[in-house]
Symmetry: C2
Subunit: 431 residues, 2 copies
């Protein structure tokens, strides 16, 4: 057993980018947690020959376990189970108990489609219940079962874990997959690899490269750690993987970064600013938040309500795209807009205070800017954004941004700044 794993992601829609693959990265992280080395992910279309070639290559590379995602649907172009059967030299057979249980699931699901074609439902049902002989079934989350398909006796092939494509099915099925004999035998005797993440906000990525060098110069053996840095949504993530016996070394590295960046380092345990802002609001006494956003068009509200339980602190938001809406809903005086323009410090502050009052919240946040691609001027170019946060005590914080990039990047990046601005104001107010 080499203990290495390979992933095969199937689907022409993934290969060509109409759907972004989330399964490869997700499974990769889970494999790491189990101490299994993940070599590579192969993305192939819905062609059986290409899927088979990918399985054979990863087997030849010495992988002892392969994970596939996708291609388990009821339609004819979903062929992964058949290909894996061929790969293992196992004939395809109908599993009658599975056939019956999928039938029951389908009866429930199709109850709301009165005119559904029962013949095609039955054909899809039969197809999804046809599996390689000797495979272990992972119970369907949707209608597709997962499969664990071992090699034939005497074969050197790896075991193949066959999972459905929708992440909402793959993720819950993973727990059953890792309980199987195939996984257990690969992970036996492995030691876990630790992973820790630092998050920083407000410094360029090149600073971190320099910091790694000075950590090494000051005697910290960072080459014994596997450190990767990455710029994401305007924050820098420093992810370190290390063997458990390197914990002391990692701690000294983390302390070095903390000493270098007392302001920028906001998370030493990988928690997100979203989580931190929610915790700051929920602390005693609990506070509530409200928004008035223009260029972000609802993205800040959507981000704040992504976490379950947001209703405890989120009062609501105003998406005030037009000037009329800014005045009518958020109470921004028309004269203020006329004097300073809709994208201005004054209007951002008025939006924050206006949201707070309109929604009867403790903390108000205002965002106004030019997301582009049109609407910029020489004085106020695309990417100019003003953000403000305002507490009912009168304390407030303002931030001016000049962001590069596309409309999408500008909108997204602004939401990150707003989260930090609000969290920072709460901290400086003594939360």
């Amino acid at each position: 057993m080499s203990g290495r794993a390979g992933i095969v992601v199937t689907g022409t829609e993934v290969l060509t980018g109409r759907v972004v693959d989330r399964n490869g990265p997700w499974c990769s992280e889970r494999l790491r947690e189990l101490g299994i080395d993940h070599e590579s992910t192969v993305v192939v279309g819905d062609r059986p020959a290409d899927i088979l070639a990918a399985l054979r290559w990863l087997a030849a590379e010495g992988c002892s376990i392969l994970i596939t995602s996708g291609g388990l649907g009821p339609t004819e172009d979903d062929l992964t189970a058949t290909v894996v059967g061929e790969f293992q030299g196992r004939p395809m057979v109908v599993d009658e108990p599975l056939h019956a249980s999928i039938k029951a699931i389908l009866a429930r699901l199709t109850a709301r489609w009165p005119n559904v074609d029962q013949k095609s439902i039955a054909a899809g049902n039969l197809k999804q219940a046809t599996i390689p002989e000797g495979a272990t079934i992972l119970e369907p989350i949707g209608t597709a079962p997962g499969l664990v398909v071992p090699p034939l006796d005497g074969s050197d092939n790896p075991t193949v874990v066959v999972l459905p494509g929708p992440p909402s099915e793959l993720i819950p099925m993973w727990a059953a997959a890792v309980e199987t004999e195939a996984f257990v035998s690969v992970t036996a005797g492995r030691r876990t690899i630790e992973q820790s993440m630092l998050r920083l906000f407000g410094i360029p990525e090149s600073e971190i490269a320099a910091t790694l060098r000075s950590a090494r110069d000051s005697g910290i053996d960072i080459d014994a750690l596997e450190i990767t840095t990455c710029l994401r949504r305007g924050e820098i993530e420093v992810v370190t993987r290390f063997a458990p016996d390197q914990q002391v070394l990692y701690d000294s590295f983390a302390q070095f970064v903390a000493d270098e960046y007392p302001e920028a380092l906001f998370s030493i345990d990988g928690t997100t600013v979203d989580y931190q802002l929610a915790e700051l609001l929920k602390a005693s006494p609990p506070l509530t938040i409200a928004l008035a956003e223009s260029c972000t068009g609802g993205l800040v509200a959507a981000r704040l309500t992504e976490l379950p339980g947001a209703s405890a602190y989120f009062r609501g938001g105003l998406v005030v795209y037009s000037n009329e809406a800014k005045s009518r809903l958020a109470g921004v005086p028309e004269e203020l807009i006329a004097e300073h323009g809709a994208v201005s410090e004054e209007v951002a502050v008025a939006l924050a205070a206006g949201a707070r009052k309109a929604l009867n919240a403790d903390l108000g946040v205002g965002v106004t800017g030019i997301a582009g691609p049109d609407g910029g001027t020489e004085e106020k170019p695309v990417g100019l954004v003003w953000c403000a946060a305002s507490l009912s005590s009168g304390e407030h914080a303002v931030r001016k941004l000049q962001l590069p990039g596309s409309r999408q990047v500008i909108r997204d990046r602004t939401t990150t700044v707003v989260m930090h601005l609000a969290a920072g104001l709460l901290r400086s107010s003594g939360r």
Copy 2:
């Protein structure tokens, strides 16, 4: 020349999903436009042995051209050029003109950082100018050159096109890459492959499987087309690739689907419902839209404002998470909420009308539901959502949903339903 291509995406941050790969899909689409068959994309970490293994496999699979992305930076862990040199059996040499031109770029870039470490800059410069002997240089967009590395005379290896990882560098460099001898020789005599997309909403995926079978039964040679279906955000996408001389066949297939699903087929040219709704609003006379959303928490507003130019028709949105906000901002009578509950047809309709009035718009949309994971009851379980759209003429449309899945899926899926509900109401009103 097989005319097949393979892509190797390098980077541990991509393999483990901290960065989403955009390059593989982007290059895949460009290859398709050139008529080059793209077999698979291999994602590997920053380990030279894994990169080399991926190149060798794709070569063994018969690819005549390979594209790599990433690993061209100035730092020690960027090793793609060296690995490609080894793959082709070409020694690494310093290209002096390239060395000088990168030096000039660096001088410009580092001018604004006074304390930059000149020694490490010089080392990076030399590293980036060291290339496999005989490679064609693609001029740097950032500091990294691209490379086209042909096989040695007498070798069966494919040509490797080496591109940088940042999409902002890879994309502009592509134009130079396709002008090279390597690309031209592979694409010579190739014909373009057409791609068309149908989008359907409101039918289960199994229906499409049945339709493919009945199209075949009725004499349409669908096996001469490459058809893939995929369920995405609650819609079904039917993507067909075909040689240009199969256009008539494709048209008859598309007509067959249109005849089967006159209601569900909403796009025959791949346009999204988001685009269609925007067009319906912008048609003459132009109409405006406003929202009051609860469980989607701003996602509908964010989706509506994703398209540039949304300010022409989007008046604004109310994110009315609390009951108080529903009454105070959207004018939903407190008694109505008390009588029917916040998640009810009556409140959805009142939200739609309230948004329309509060924001002085022509079309109002209201959404209220239970996104979970908590807050569900036996009578009103998690996933229950009411959506309503209301025109100032009094016409309106309502839709009740009972969605399966996670909080994220319920929120996202609801936005799709809302887009269709609003577009459908506009169409039925005669737009």
